[in-house]
Symmetry: C2
Subunit: 210 residues, 2 copies
């Protein structure tokens, strides 16, 4: 059975998945890269020198068994990317997805085929509709909700997510987009585990009860 | 040197130290006792049957070397306790503080001496003024900021806290009083450690840099 999963989504202690204000020069706003330093230090990211401890074990689950990703417009590009006909995402010619990627936007455009198996599809749809299309595209594999915080919490609030992995980083951002808003009583439908690691982060895993 | 410390202050994943709405029947609002179950299970709380693991080691630091506590009006009683001349707190004739306790309120009343060494002093003052008085009352020992969330974050924001221990419980409350508000960039002045334990909570310790 194809599942819907969230992986490696980093948040601050106060729950922000991105800072304020996002721009072409600052994809995560005033958070900079601080939310992701834990990941850059793992073998998952740094194929030659990265660590092989608990952070890497969690991070590496990101790609296992995934057949498609869904992301929000705010992850695909800076505010206003819809006005740039040549914008093809942040990731260069060979993006790290290697699967169909559905980009949710109110201004869809024709699909873009990239190197390495990534194809960006642009869709103006609800989370449920997007997940249905993504499951078809994933061909029996799982669907990853890639973020940002708004898309993740919309999908979780709609009861569409089977598993979620958040990584809490010991900084207080104070402003940005908060992943928790609207998710009251999440513990009623998910088993929640917390695992802090020597790097200082805490991995929070949410496994949907059956 | 007398220090100002916070201990055993429990918060939800989304940072609420108390739920909504507080009342005489529900001191923590819709949070009920869920924020404190981890503590009830320790030897610190349950002197005959409680656990002696990591949760207890953290919890037990609460009382070591403390000479006075400061608490907000919302911790001392339900909304409107100031209208009840007989209100002496939630804790019965022998409260668990065993020290002078400064209660911050805009409607101070004469001090109340309780059994077991606890005396409640009522003060209409800024956090800095309250801490100065508490340090005098503590006679060289440390001062504990007992909560609630508003008093803690006011004291932290004013740079008056040397050490803070928060306990993150795996529930999402969605509403209440959030401890993080106004504390952006806390990591610049504190070393932060996270320790998750088998009970499912994560202890967050903040040690002020010197």
């Amino acid at each position: 059975m194809s599942e819907v999963r969230v992986h490696n989504f980093s948040i601050s202690l106060d729950g922000f998945g991105t800072g304020d204000v996002q721009s072409a020069d600052a994809p995560f706003g005033h958070a900079g890269e601080r939310l992701h330093e834990w990941m850059f230090a793992t073998r998952f990211w740094d194929k030659t020198g990265g660590s092989l401890g608990a952070d890497n074990a969690f991070a590496d689950r990101n790609s296992v068994g995934i057949g498609a990703e869904i992301m929000g417009a705010g992850k695909f590009g800076p505010p206003g990317w819809q006005d740039d006909a040549d914008w093809k995402g942040w990731w260069g010619p060979n993006p790290p997805f290697h699967s169909p990627v559905i980009v949710l936007t109110h201004r869809p455009r024709p699909a873009i085929e990239m190197e390495g198996g990534t194809t960006f599809h642009f869709l103006d749809a609800t989370p449920a509709e997007a997940i249905e299309q993504a499951k078809t595209a994933a061909d029996g594999k799982d669907v990853r909700i890639g973020g940002g915080a708004t898309v993740i919490r919309d999908c979780v609030a709609a009861g569409l997510v089977d598993h979620m992995h958040l990584v809490q980083v010991p900084i207080v951002l104070g402003r940005g987009v908060r992943v928790w808003d609207g998710l009251e009583a999440l513990e009623d439908s998910f088993d929640i585990e917390a695992t802090s690691t020597p790097s200082g982060v805490t991995h929070l895993t949410f496994t949907k009860r059956r």
